[in-house]
Symmetry: C2
């Protein structure tokens, strides 16, 4: 399993646009066979800061995600709305190891 | 619901100690009434970087967590093993809103 946390800073005037576009990507991603979670969060004390918490079954599933129409559309749509480049950090899972907990 | 992502950088010589102590905190946290998730992750390309992904029902549940024996023991035990102060970022949930998805 690979869990990637993606931190995104959005230009203030595009917060609502970003939320709308990312919910669309979120909904599409949850339909992918290799997707386990795709949480979309907003920082409580900085409305311009967001986190995507993306869990996939494998490296192959992550690669497949990056070729989906919803991801590619999201990537292109939100690019100019970001205040700086997004930071994606890939992780392995220490706990819980039990797949049913995901 | 409040979801806090905590990034921790650990001194290389204390990676194993940190993992052991944090699994203990993870196990205790999952027993808390107000806890929803407590994922413990290690960065795939930097073994000294960790993430805790902690979801709680409410601000009250987060406050209660910080008074538990397992949290206080963890906090004290790992303090000197950190390479720099940990960064906790609190979030609100945009999606999924459905509580059963957590």
């Amino acid at each position: 399993m690979i869990v990637t946390s993606v931190t995104v800073y959005v230009k203030e005037e595009h917060i609502d646009d970003f939320i709308e576009a990312t919910i669309k990507n979120h909904n599409g991603s949850l339909q992918e066979k290799g997707n386990i979670r795709f949480d979309f969060l907003q920082c409580s004390n900085d409305a311009t800061r967001f986190m995507l918490y993306e869990a996939f079954e494998s490296k192959e599933a992550v690669d497949a995600h990056k070729e989906t129409a919803h991801y590619l559309e999201w990537k292109e749509t939100v690019a100019s709305w970001m205040a700086k480049p997004r930071e994606g950090v890939p992780h392995t899972v220490i706990s819980p190891k039990d797949r049913s907990k995901w």
